[in-house]
Symmetry: C2
Subunit: 395 residues, 2 copies
Amino acid sequence: MPILKIPGFRFAGVACGIKKSKGKDLALIVSDRPATAAALFTTNRVKAAPLIVGMRNIKKGRLQAVVVNSGNANACTGARGMRDAEAMCREAGKALRIAPQLVLPSSTGVIGVPLPIEKVRQGVRRAAASLSPDGFMEAAEAMLTTDRFVKIASAHCLVDGKRVRVAGMVKGAGMIAPNMATMLAYLLTDAAVELRCLCSMLRSAVNRSFNCVTVDGDMSTNDTVLLLANGMAGNRQIRQGSSDSRRLAKVVYEVMRKLAIKLVEDGEGATKVVEIHVEGAASVAAAQRVAVSVARSQLVKTAFFGEDPNFGRILAAIGYAGVPLDPDKIDVSFNGIPVAKRGVGITANEKKAARTMRRPSFRVKIRLHQGKRSASVWTSDLTHEYVRINSAYRT
Amino acid sequence: MPILKIPGFRFAGVACGIKKSKGKDLALIVSDRPATAAALFTTNRVKAAPLIVGMRNIKKGRLQAVVVNSGNANACTGARGMRDAEAMCREAGKALRIAPQLVLPSSTGVIGVPLPIEKVRQGVRRAAASLSPDGFMEAAEAMLTTDRFVKIASAHCLVDGKRVRVAGMVKGAGMIAPNMATMLAYLLTDAAVELRCLCSMLRSAVNRSFNCVTVDGDMSTNDTVLLLANGMAGNRQIRQGSSDSRRLAKVVYEVMRKLAIKLVEDGEGATKVVEIHVEGAASVAAAQRVAVSVARSQLVKTAFFGEDPNFGRILAAIGYAGVPLDPDKIDVSFNGIPVAKRGVGITANEKKAARTMRRPSFRVKIRLHQGKRSASVWTSDLTHEYVRINSAYRT
């Protein structure tokens, strides 16, 4: 089981009445002291109010608390939305006796509906009163929307002779696309890390994890990945370029990769997680582009659902990836079973390949025979349940 | 009713046993004399064998016949696929007593399975024997795969005092994406047109029709749009830049636009055709980019299916279109009913907007307030039926 305690962090998750289901919908994450903070936000030009406030608050690289509500995204809500996001920070600051500028606000849920701010404020007060070092799971649960399960991961390593922990929680099921999934992800560590080092650690890990998963190709207005380092482990501050920095970066990446794959597992309506692994590309960027093109293809994703090793659709998606390549050199296999060699189908292997697709997760390997670079992208299948969830979301 | 006869053209559609359903699966289109020919093919780097042969045969801008089979795409079939595509042309040439180089071959259907070439050759002979000026509908029918209905359109105009006809047929239901739908489209005219003029007419019409529709965002390996002009109308040859050329270009565009919208109507599983109209953009390219981003969003398309005027998903898709814009200026309306003004939702209008979405076709208007350019893209909804068709296609 993941380590659910990180020294110096406390958590709470409560129900404050935003969700009709009466489920938990407000989470608090609080560090006992101001933490070094790095974050990445959606590149969508339409940004929800809490992101605009959060981007302002994180400017100095220090935060002490995160307040998250689910059930309402506070996006496309105009001036009122901005006031509400600020009110969330003010309320949290007041309850925790810290400056509101040390609070990062997040919201997730329906877009375009004003936040029921009085409920949120009450929720913040109740959550602040119930903070506990053991509340990790409750907080992770309180940020879920259409998610089917709580998604957490953790790991640890030795740094400067001290045991250092990294734990993360992520929310997200739909609006999952490369360049940030629709998701809120919070990673916490008790390591002491220099700000510049923390920022590059975060960016590098996101590029190889959250930016390598896709469910529906839609990019949300609320995406946030935050990494807080509160230094409670007592190590000497980790600096850019040090071996300690590489060690911690690896652990941060591991945790984030686990969270990213869990996002796909929990993809709306998903019944399968498929790794699209492209190798023999001229560059990593080319490999990733081909992988994303296949991973996003609606026809490929419905074929995964139908357990149909339809290499033709895969080859077609490779062909429109916009990468120069020679179709007559492409090999495709499913869990090691070749279904196309040099661009031509191997129909004799189809039944075997279809059988391996019954597994809840499998790997499609694409060899381009152009170079030595590779990349993986994780995707889900496109199912009836996806259509059901998303055609009935608000009704 | 469309005009189904074009002087100097004959048609046939027969069943030769490629389709398990025993339905018509082989079409011939023949001009009494070599016609001036312009074509556009898929930009997918993976191109089916018939496209490679067709691109070679059309080089001189003259063709006399088209042979099309459905049920098998002859794509990803290697050297054998090339031989089979050439055999189709040879067989047609022999039966019609013309050079095989004057024949354009097309195939559509399952990818990666060798063409049953003997059946195709027999089919070609039978089709050649049953050619008729009245066979337009039969030919249009014989090229269908998952299509639910025959898609044809026609129009006419006066050129040089002569009545000139343009008629077209299109096949396609899935793998429909901008930059050519997955489709085969053949447009025929009895006008006499200079080759260069015919080519620019075709390109301009495709850009504003087939390149403005999307069903699933997947681009096929077999897309072909062909325009044949056999000159039987007896007009003086139409030259580039003339008023006759503009007149005919307009008619070609009209026919193509009708065919393109029919493609969306027949989109796999589609229950609605939605026009995404973007105005107030800085350029036509920007307007089109925003429209395509919205038109391709899985979340927007499932919301259309659910008759949910979810402007939040629309704003999110506008935001990730990659076009610089000010979210606080965007207006969105459904059939004239405003659902968002200056980036903020108008919840009071939601029920009314939901009602207008019950129609089989409606229009989403997006105003960016940035400039004076506009563009429209047509899309379908994403439905259970889409998932059913595409997860069970080959099984």
